[in-house]
Symmetry: none
């Protein structure tokens, strides 16, 4: 699966053949089908793995409330997770743009990301924003965009500075 993820992220799902995965993983092509039902299945399991890894490490607490420090920690952790799981994210972003590749993706994404967005929206509301819906959109966009830069053009901005800029701008938006 690690091998598959690597190749999917690097070359794309369709350009990666089972042969190449098996070869790089040092096993036979046939054995792949003892572990996975199909190529799509590999993708699905990678997605599950990725979602879990990200979600497990993001879920700060379950009281459903983020303090300001937790919000900052949340964003930093998110940047860290991207750096540590670049390939998963790269794959996720590309799947997001081609929903027909995996019908399962949209559903799983909503399941996992929905609660996070709610937690997130709650923080925006409780932070004194005058227009929470608007600020939530702006901040979500900024984060999404920053993550996209991390993944697709990591050389464009220095990641630590990008992280810092995003956090500060979040508060400018909220307090603004």
């Amino acid at each position: 699966m690690d091998t598959a993820l690597e190749l999917f992220a690097e070359n794309g799902y369709h350009s990666t053949s089972i042969s190449k995965i098996a070869q790089k993983a040092g096993i036979s092509k046939g054995l792949t089908y003892n572990y996975f039902e199909s190529k799509t299945d590999i993708l699905n399991e990678i997605m599950d793995q990725g979602f879990n890894e990200i979600y497990d490490n993001l879920d700060i607490n379950h009281d459903g409330i983020l303090s300001e420090d937790e919000f900052i920690y949340f964003i930093k952790q998110n940047f860290k997770l991207i750096r540590d799981n670049m390939q998963h994210w790269k794959l996720f972003f590309s799947l997001m743009l081609q929903p027909k590749v995996s019908a399962a993706f949209a559903q799983k994404y909503e399941e996992k990301v929905g609660p996070i967005l709610n937690l997130f929206f709650g923080f925006v509301q409780s932070s004194g924003s005058k227009n929470p819906e608007s600020d939530f959109m702006a901040i979500s966009s900024m984060l999404e965009g920053a993550f996209l830069y991390c993944v697709a053009a990591p050389d464009m901005f220095p990641l630590e500075k990008l992280e810092e800029a995003v956090i500060q701008s979040c508060f400018k938006i909220l307090k603004g």
Copy 2:
């Protein structure tokens, strides 16, 4: 080409076969090769078309300076262009994440987008920002993220409100 763009955007470049394009366009597979040299050629021509369409309509003026009104107009125009060329943008985002698909993309992208970013950075600098580099990153990310939402999850946020939120937040960041 319109048919090809539609399918590329919807299903991705690799998942779209020449057969499907020809079939959907109502012509024979062979005829495709009277118009295009190869599948890659189709992609390249679509990219050129898209870049030109977007770039031609974005280029506000050539004095290299954006006033505040022009900046706002610039962003609004950008959102409009996304709505009007959703498929091109969808394709572009997906190519951005799979650079191996088309070596030509990265180069063309840089040629077209580079000057815009410079124009853009100039505005941030001249707008009284205390930390132009940082604000530029935040604003670029926000725009990129907003565009990604438009393209990949257009139902998530109402696009007009997203647009409004982004513009306002830009100024919060700059003045903040």
Copy 3:
């Protein structure tokens, strides 16, 4: 037809497309089919042209008898014809080896070449050979081989010397 011959001889019948022929001849692909019924038809007409050109120039006299001088002249003329119609010969040799390409070839070849061989055999018989059948085979082979060298490896032997060697050896065989 000249264009087609050139391309057939250079690249082979199957590697030469109607498109290339038409393009090189400066006409449209469709027009080709006003002159020829099919690609095979082009080949057949080229073959006819070739056979006629060669045969017309070879037929020394019709009394059916070759004198020694005529025999020498005959061979020299043959070498000359090869040099002047290299492409026809190249094509002929290649067709000889792939009889299925053109069912017509074998028949036409026999029609044209048969009488020549008879004329030829007559000379061997009348030249004092002790074993005409045997000498005829040897001389025919030598000529055929020399022609093949001319066509397929013209740089291997200097053609004039090859010609001289062949003629002399013919007489050595006959008189030997």
Copy 4:
């Protein structure tokens, strides 16, 4: 490979499709590519096989000198090899006439055949010929032509008589 050789020799390289080879061999088209990398690869391996088979059986001794008996044996062996590997020879002759089919052919041919021709020329020189260059050309042509008759028109001359005629004529030429 045997199937491929058969079809290549019979119909020519370009007229023989992978489908036909696979079908005649009783396997699927895809399986072909487990054994060979490409159609060209099939041709190359057939050529190697052919060259080796012929060369291995031709190399009389390595002292680089042919006695008269060895020379006769050499020619007889050559005729035998043609009879036994008719298809290889047929393929080789056709490749000789369409050098663009396989760039590898010319090179391999030279490697294998060059030394033989040298050995051969050495015999002509040491045999008392008054004009070795000339006689070498004549004899080479005669052999080449006889081989071509064997391969392209085996019904034209009885092969044993052709063989005998060629050998005798060689000596007539040399002693001439």
